[in-house]
């Protein structure tokens, strides 16, 4: 049964409401929100955080937390970029994706092993691997901003369509990488909803011991999860540098906390077990729209960070309150109903 109360006890409607309010505010302040090119710009800005949020959400659902996925994305894409540049490779970009995804998978497998088989706490392990991977990238590979191979430049120029702003005549191009986001979302959706592996991720997040007893192979599921997250991060890295035609090793570092915040804002429970892709994408969309509309709203540059902080606090506060009260009401109801049974 889908009841209004059950819907209101989730965070998706509240985040959606916040997005609508924010959009209306931007529209009112700039007249530029609901224009084709602005929406395309926002969609483009959503690609990288959106891709990262998928893996981040899956890890949190499984009861873990990962703060190293941006380090994986950076290291995997940087090594790939360097290898391809030095070998003078000029072929298909798919190889770059495969390579970077592969490196990401290996890097993910390393901490996946520590988490799944040695049962070490995820936050600590990923803090360690995050530090390790960024250190390796800057230390061993002496990373600094670099060119990208021609295949990636071409890939970055693949455009799906061009949207024109009727009023100003400005145009924005929808990059083909949005398809990767859509594809990954679809893949993750199918995985999480229709495979036992995906249900296992939720089951582990709910009660790991129970999952083991039920016959889930908890270790393999976790191992798979972190490999998947690593591969996804590696792929994200290539999308990012292709779109910018420029491989800056630091371009994604530091995004991890914002992505985690967006995922939690989207209703994923910090302690695991609950979380939807819809909520995740709404959460990351809210954060992306906010980050990319401060000028449109007209917040002075010097106050933009204070404004962002205030919105995060108010947004998460309201969401937390609403869910708490909706859940509280329902709990009471269940109790009295249960009493009669």
């Amino acid at each position: 049964m889908i009841t209004a109360r059950r819907i209101l006890a989730r965070s998706e409607p509240w985040v959606l409401a916040a997005i609508v309010m924010l959009s209306l505010l931007i529209q009112a302040r700039s007249g530029q929100f609901f224009t084709g090119n602005n929406l395309v710009d926002l969609a483009r800005a959503l690609i990288v955080p959106g891709l990262l949020s998928i893996g981040c959400m899956m890890v949190i659902v499984s009861g873990g937390i990962d703060v190293s996925f941006t380090a994986i994305a950076s290291l995997a894409m940087y090594v790939t970029d360097k290898i391809l540049l030095q070998s003078g490779y000029s072929g298909n970009v798919l190889l770059a994706y495969a390579m970077s995804g592969g490196f990401g998978l290996l890097l993910g497998a390393l901490y996946g092993f520590l988490i799944a088989f040695l049962r070490l706490p995820t936050l600590v392990v990923t803090l360690g691997t995050g530090s390790l991977y960024t250190g390796l990238m800057y230390g061993a590979f002496a990373a600094s901003a670099s060119d990208v191979p021609p295949s990636m430049i071409a890939h970055g120029k693949e455009i799906l369509f061009t949207a024109t702003n009727a009023k100003l005549g400005l145009t924005s191009e929808m990059p083909s990488q949005i398809l990767i986001l859509v594809g990954m979302l679809a893949l993750a959706f199918l995985l999480l909803r229709y495979t036992m592996l995906g249900r296992g991720i939720y089951a582990i997040g709910g009660d790991e011991a129970a999952a083991e007893r039920a016959g889930f192979n908890v270790r393999l599921i976790k191992m798979f999860l972190y490999c998947f997250v690593g591969a996804l991060a590696g792929i994200t890295g290539i999308s990012r540098i292709s779109m910018m035609a420029y491989a800056d090793p630091s371009t994604m570092l530091g995004m991890e906390l914002t992505v985690i915040a967006a995922v939690v804002l989207g209703g994923t429970r910090v302690t695991g077990g609950l979380g939807t892709l819809t909520g995740t994408i709404l959460g990351i969309a809210l954060m992306t729209i906010l980050a990319n509309s401060l000028i449109l709203i007209g917040i002075p540059t010097y106050w933009s960070r204070a404004f962002t902080g205030a919105v995060i606090i108010i947004g998460t506060g309201v969401t937390a309150r609403q869910i708490a009260s909706a859940t509280g009401r329902r709990r009471e109801l269940k109790k009295t109903k249960g009493g009669g049974a």
Binding site: A210, R213, F216, K335
Partner: protein
């Protein structure tokens, strides 16, 4: 002679130097209801885990399906038709009822994909077996403990089982639910399924089982047919001690009421509750789960706020808006869920004991006086005969009964006027149960006012000086335990004559 479903012989198992099982044997025949009894820590749970393949025994063998094995994997156990319903139910609180019911089946069938239509069919079949009416799309965490238990039972029934092991299945169930469960068990038996019923409640053992095995300290102490067992022998085998439950006839209330509740109501929980409590009284409040009994005492203890009504302590209006204020008014509360609400499991016994009286043990600058802390702890360990070698060990190393005593000690260390106990002996072994009952009587005799919230009717009858029955958030009737019986209480609780 009936054929044997499962037989274990000479099982040994040690954890970290502690021998949990010392050569235990058990035989379960086809189609029988067999009771495995023993106090907490006697090795029952370990034995179950060996049978279900969760633990590998250090020595001994298991005979199942005509084969003699030295170890068993969980999958093998299940494929041999052994199903366990654990005490914690092993369910996923974050998933829907439907998924909880269907996932195990699907995993057994080695399915890689989730088919929601098939899952719904499985779930519907599962709940229909015991006529359980529940919303399949609701998340399990939103249901009561009793409902969760039934979900776990429905799930176990789905498998093509030869043997269902139920680990203390009734500990969180009300009388009515226990009855329903027993009829389900009988029904299963009639289908030829054996049941291994793990319990330490003697009424249940006598009511349901045909044969029994009793463990104590990891060893077999008795086995045989239930017909040939009497109550005192049962208690003796379990504990190694002789008990006689003297019936308690308190002196009755002494002096003015210390706690008066006047027309207390909270929407959706209880309404119009009024009663007085005098020093030396033990007030029993009984009712089914969801009758509002727990909600009522949680309000008294400041955990929730009433919508209307008043509470008076020693004749003065008391506004209890937080637990701290309740403590200041001399109230103490032993919650029903010891593990999550009562104890800080990985912390030391000492810290768990003194946590509510830290104020009094702190000297200048809020620093604790170590000696005073140690003395207080030692005193309560002695007074309540808590069985531990070292108070600096984590409290989770204690048995259930001793853990409950630690929670009690925490409140007794305060100068209490009113002690509220919610399910004081739930999941506690017989020995500790007698200890706790005796302690309550002693405290009442010393002038403490006590409220026991319990659906363990013999307990309420044995301990309380008066009994109030709650149903659907209201007081139904007040009774004198001397002139009432279990069946009267049970009828009043359920509203069914």
């Amino acid at each position: 002679m009936a054929s044997t479903v499962l037989k274990v012989e000479g099982i040994e198992k040690s954890f970290g130097g502690v021998r949990a099982l010392k050569g235990v044997s058990l035989e379960i025949r086809a189609g029988e209801i067999h009771c495995l009894a023993g106090e907490n820590g006697s090795g029952k749970s370990t034995l179950i885990k060996v049978i279900s393949g969760a633990h590998e025994p250090d020595a001994g063998w298991i005979e199942i399906g005509g084969r003699r094995l030295t170890r068993l994997s969980p999958i093998e156990a299940i494929s041999h038709g052994v199903q366990v319903i654990y005490q914690d139910f092993s369910i996923f609180p974050n998933l829907t009822v439907m998924e909880n019911l269907a996932l195990n089946m699907e995993l057994m069938d080695k399915r890689a994909f989730m088919n929601y239509r098939r899952a719904r069919a499985i779930a519907a079949r599962a709940v229909s077996q015991i006529g359980f009416d529940i919303d399949l799309d609701e998340r399990v965490e939103n249901f009561s403990v009793a409902d969760r238990q039934l979900i776990a039972i429905c799930r176990a029934l789905l498998q093509d089982s030869k043997l269902i092991i139920m680990d203390e299945p009734t500990s969180a169930l009300t009388k009515k639910e226990v009855k329903a469960l027993f009829s389900v068990i009988k029904d299963l038996q009639s289908r030829g399924i054996s049941i291994l019923f793990v319990s330490h409640k003697l009424d249940e053992v006598f009511e349901i089982s045909e044969r029994y095995t009793i463990l104590r300290s990891g060893e077999n102490v008795a086995m045989g047919s239930t017909d040939e067992l009497d109550r005192s022998a049962f208690a003796f085998h379990m504990t190694g001690r002789e008990f006689s439950e003297e019936s308690y006839r308190p002196a009755g209330p002494r002096g003015d009421p210390i706690l008066s509740v006047k027309g207390l109501s909270r929407r959706g929980c209880y309404s119009g509750i009024s009663f007085d409590l005098a020093p030396g009284e033990i007030l029993g409040i009984t009712g089914l789960l969801g009758s509002g009994r727990t909600e009522l005492v949680e309000t008294l203890f400041g955990l929730t706020r009433p919508d209307s009504g008043a509470v008076e302590v020693r004749g003065n209006r008391a506004r209890i808006r937080s637990v701290k204020e309740a403590i200041r008014h001399g109230l103490g509360y032993v919650p029903s869920d010891r593990l999550t609400e009562g104890l800080f499991l990985p912390q030391t016994i000492e810290r768990n004991t003194v946590i509510a009286v830290l104020d009094r043990l702190a000297g200048g600058l809020g620093l604790l006086r170590r000696k005073a802390v140690a003395e207080t702890t030692a005193r309560w360990i002695r007074d309540l005969s808590i069985a531990t070698k070292d108070p600096s060990l984590p409290v989770r190393t204690l048995s259930g009964g001793n853990q409950q005593k630690v929670v009690l000690a925490r409140w007794l260390a305060n100068d209490l006027s009113v002690l509220i106990l919610n399910g004081p002996t739930m999941g506690v072994d017989i020995g500790s149960k007698y200890d706790i009952h005796a302690l309550m009587r002693k405290l009442a005799a010393e002038g403490l006012a006590i409220i026991i919230v319990s659906d363990d009717l013999p307990e309420v009858l044995a301990c309380a000086s008066r009994i109030i029955v709650m149903r659907e958030g209201a007081f139904v009737r007040e009774l004198d335990p001397a002139s009432t019986t279990e069946s009267v209480l049970s009828e009043l609780s359920t509203g069914v004559a």
